[in-house]
C-alpha cells in the first residue's frame, strides 16, 4: 500500500461526470443493445426494423423510462421501491377519475396523491428507519387497494373524454414520435442534470455509498432518502397520467410486475443494487434493451407473452449475478 500518492496533481479540465459515465464495464449494455438490434433486424427484417414497430418500442419504453429514472435515484441511494407498479395503476385511475373536472385536475390529482405516497414511503424509510422493501411492499398493497377503491372495486372504468386537452396532448405525435416519448425524454434529461449537477444528486450517490459517513460529513441524509422516494413516486405518477391519456381510461389492474422491470432496467444499466454507483445513461440503455428483447419475444409467434416474465426474471438474476461477481473482484 502506498503511503502518499505520487500521481501528478492536476487542475482538472475534464469533468468527473464525463469519466464516470462510460466506463468499459458499463459500456457493455449499449453494446449488447446494439447487437440485439442488429440481430433482430437480420432475423425478423421489416416486421422488427420498421418505423412503426420501433415507434411502438419507443412508446412502450417511455413509460418504463420514467419509472426506471425514478428507480435509479432510489437504487443509487441504497434503497428499493417496489410500489411503482401499483402507483402506475393508481395514477392512471386517478387521472381518469379526475378527468371529469377537466385536464388540470386530471393531472394534478394523481401527481399529488403519488407525491404524498412517495413522501410517506420516504419518511418511513428515511426518518423512521424501516427497511425500504417492507415499506414499499406495503405501499404496493395500499396503492393497489386505493386504485380499486376509486374504481369501485374494479366494477367501474373511468373514461377520459376524447375532447379533453389531456387526450389530445397524450395522443399527439411530433416528428414521428408520440407525445409520451417526448415527455419521457424531457423528464429524463432534467433528471440527468439533477443527478449529476446538483447537491441533491451528489448526496444521493454519497448516501448510497456509505450512509453513516454521509451523515457524519454533514449531509442531510434523511432528507435525501425521503426525496428519492418522492421523485420515484412522482415520475411514476407522470407515467400513469401518460398511460391514461393514451388509453383514455384508468384501469386498476395495470402495472403488475412493473417494479421488477424497472429494477431490472436500472441494474442492467450498471447501477449497483447496493447503491452508490451507477448512471442514468445506463438506465436508458437498460430500458431499451429490456423492451427490445420483449418485442423480439413477441415477434416469435409461438411464444406467449408469459415467456416475457420468465425471461425478465431470469435476465435480472443473471445480470445481478454478473454484477456482484464484478464488484467483488474489484473490491479485492
Amino acid at each position: 500500500m502506498t503511503a502518499v500518492e505520487t500521481t501528478a496533481a492536476t487542475t482538472g479540465h475534464r469533468t468527473v461526470t464525463g469519466r464516470l459515465w462510460w466506463r468499459p464495464d458499463r459500456a457493455g449494455t449499449p453494446i449488447v443493445l446494439a447487437l440485439v438490434l442488429i440481430v433482430g433486424s437480420l432475423v425478423f427484417g421489416d416486421s422488427f426494423a420498421s418505423g412503426r414497430n420501433l415507434g411502438n418500442i419507443a412508446l412502450d419504453s417511455s413509460y418504463l423510462l420514467l419509472i426506471a429514472t425514478g428507480m435509479t435515484f432510489v437504487v443509487l441511494s441504497g434503497g428499493i421501491d417496489l410500489s411503482v407498479g401499483s402507483l402506475l395503476a393508481l395514477s392512471g385511475v386517478l387521472t381518469a377519475y379526475g378527468a371529469q373536472w377537466g385536464t388540470l385536475t386530471a393531472v394534478l390529482l394523481p401527481l399529488a396523491v403519488c407525491g404524498v405516497i412517495g413522501l410517506v414511503n420516504g419518511l418511513l424509510i428515511g426518518t423512521a428507519g424501516i427497511a425500504p422493501f417492507i415499506v414499499t411492499l406495503a405501499s404496493l398493497l395500499f396503492a393497489r387497494g386505493l386504485a380499486f377503491a376509486v374504481a369501485d372495486e374494479g366494477n367501474k372504468v373511468h373514461l377520459i373524454p376524447a375532447d379533453l386537452a389531456l387526450t389530445r396532448l397524450g395522443q399527439a405525435r411530433w416528428l414521428g414520435l408520440s407525445a409520451p416519448v417526448w415527455f419521457a425524454l424531457v423528464v429524463f434529461a432534467a433528471a440527468v442534470v439533477v443527478l449529476n449537477r446538483t447537491r441533491f444528486g451528489q448526496s444521493t450517490f454519497a448516501v448510497g455509498d456509505n450512509l453513516e459517513a454521509a451523515g457524519l460529513m454533514g449531509l442531510p441524509t434523511a432528507r435525501v432518502r425521503v426525496l428519492v422516494y418522492v421523485v420515484s413516486a412522482l415520475l411514476t405518477g407522470i407515467a400513469g397520467v401518460l398511460v391514461a391519456a393514451q388509453t383514455q381510461s384508468g384501469l386498476p389492474t395495470i402495472g403488475e410486475g412493473r417494479e421488477l422491470e424497472a429494477i431490472a432496467a436500472v441494474v442492467i444499466g450498471g447501477t449497483l443494487l447496493t447503491g452508490g454507483a451507477g448512471s442514468l445513461a445506463g438506465t436508458l440503455a437498460g430500458v431499451l434493451l429490456l423492451k427490445v428483447i420483449q418485442n423480439l419475444i413477441n415477434q416469435v409467434g409461438t411464444l406467449t407473452s408469459y415467456y416475457q416474465q420468465v425471461v425478465s426474471g431470469t435476465f435480472l438474476i443473471v445480470v445481478v449475478l454478473i454484477q456482484s461477481r464484478l464488484t467483488r473482484r474489484r473490491m479485492r
Binding site: I80, L124, A128, G129, I130, A131, F133, I134, V135, L137, A138, S139, L140, L141, F142, R144, G145, L146, A147, F148, A149, E153, G257, L260, I263, V267, L273, T274, T304, Y306, Y307, Q308, Q309, V310, V311, S312, G313, T314, L316, I317, V320, L321, S324, R328
Partner: protein, 316 residues
C-alpha cells in the same frame, strides 16, 4: 425529549414481545360482541381453514428471515405447484403432489444457491424467481384455470379428522416440526447462528452455504404444499391468482409474531399467531361488509406498524 425516549422502549418492548396475543384476544372479543354468527363452530373452522396456506408459508418465511434473508417467491411457487398438479394428476394424486413439492424444492435450490454461492441479496434473487416462476406457471397452464374433480384431492382440501380439518392438522404438524427444529435440532442452531453472525458461523466451521440452501428449500417445499392445499380446497388450479401477494401476508405474520427482520431470532408460535391475527382482521373487515380494497389498505398499515414497532430491536 429525553423523558419520552426513556419511557418509550417499555411500551414497545411489550408490543414486540407478545403483542400479538392480546391483539388476537381483543379482536376475538370484539367479534364475539359485535359480529353476528362469529362465535359458531362453523365460522371458527372456516377461519382456521382459510388461514392454513398463509400459516404454512409464513413458517417457512420465518425460517428464512431467521437467516437474515427473505423469500419473495413463495406466492409464485404456490402458483407453480398449482399449475403442475393437473398436469400430473393422470399418474395419480400422490405422484402429482410429489411433483409439485419437488418443484417447490427446485425453486428453493435456485434461491438458496443464488444467495449462498452467488452472494446475491435475498430480495433480488427471490424477486427474480417470483417473476420467473409466475411466468413459468402461466406458461405451463397456458394461462388458464384448470378444474379438477379428484376425490382424494377433495378430501385433502375439505375433510376433517376427528372434527379437525386436514389442512389445520397439516399446519399443526408443520408448526410442531418447526418448533422442534429451531429449539432442539442442530439445523435450527446453525440457522440462528448463520442469521445472527454469518462470519462467526463460518469461522466456527458450520456449513453456512448448506444451511442457507436448506432453509430456502424448506421454504419452497412449504410454499408448494400450501399451493397443493389451496388448490385442493378450491378444486381448481389457477396459476394467475394462486398465492398472489401471499409473500406479504407471510412476512406480516412473521413480523407481527415478533421475529425481527435482522435475523438470528425466530418465533414460530408467534408467527402462527401472527397469521391468525391477520386472518381475523380480514374476516372482521369482510364480515362487516367493508370492500376488499379496504382490507388491503388496512393490511398495508398493519405491516408498517408491526415493522415500526420491531425496528428498535434491530438497531440496538
Amino acid at each position: 425529549m429525553t423523558g419520552t425516549r426513556t419511557a418509550r422502549p417499555d411500551v414497545l418492548t411489550v408490543l414486540r414481545g407478545g403483542g400479538v396475543y392480546p391483539a388476537i384476544l381483543l379482536l376475538l372479543l370484539f367479534n364475539v360482541a359485535f359480529t353476528p354468527n362469529f362465535a359458531t363452530l362453523t365460522n371458527l373452522r372456516l377461519q382456521l381453514v382459510q388461514v392454513a396456506p398463509v400459516a404454512i408459508v409464513a413458517i417457512g418465511m420465518a425460517l428464512v428471515i431467521g437467516t437474515e434473508g427473505i423469500d419473495l417467491s413463495v406466492g409464485s411457487t404456490m402458483a407453480l405447484s398449482a399449475a403442475l398438479l393437473p398436469l400430473y394428476l393422470g399418474y395419480g394424486v400422490w405422484p402429482a403432489v410429489v411433483v409439485a413439492l419437488l418443484a417447490g424444492a427446485a425453486v428453493g435450490i435456485v434461491n438458496g444457491s443464488l444467495v449462498a454461492f452467488g452472494h446475491m441479496q435475498p430480495i433480488i434473487a427471490t424477486l427474480g424467481t417470483l417473476v420467473a416462476c409466475r411466468g413459468l406457471a402461466l406458461v405451463l397452464a397456458d394461462g388458464r384455470l384448470a378444474e379438477m374433480f379428484d376425490p382424494v384431492l377433495g378430501t385433502l382440501g375439505n375433510d376433517s379428522v376427528l372434527g379437525v380439518p386436514i389442512s389445520v392438522l397439516l399446519v399443526l404438524v408443520v408448526t410442531g416440526a418447526a418448533v422442534v427444529a429451531v429449539r432442539r435440532a442442530a439445523f435450527g442452531r446453525r440457522l440462528l447462528a448463520v442469521g445472527g453472525n454469518r462470519a462467526a458461523a463460518t469461522l466456527a466451521g458450520l456449513p453456512v452455504n448448506r444451511t442457507l440452501v436448506t432453509v430456502y428449500v424448506v421454504s419452497g417445499v412449504l410454499a408448494a404444499a400450501a399451493g397443493v392445499l389451496s388448490t385442493a380446497r378450491q378444486g381448481a388450479a389457477d396459476p394467475s391468482s394462486a398465492g398472489l401477494l401471499i409473500e406479504l401476508s407471510a412476512i406480516t405474520a412473521v413480523v407481527v409474531g415478533g421475529t425481527p427482520l435482522s435475523g438470528g431470532r425466530i418465533r414460530i408460535l408467534g408467527t402462527l399467531m401472527g397469521a391468525l391475527l391477520m386472518q381475523l382482521i380480514i374476516a372482521t373487515v369482510i364480515q362487516h361488509d367493508l370492500p376488499d380494497s379496504t382490507a388491503r389498505m388496512l393490511q398495508a398499515g398493519i405491516i408498517v406498524a408491526a415493522v415500526y414497532v420491531q425496528r428498535g430491536r434491530s438497531r440496538a
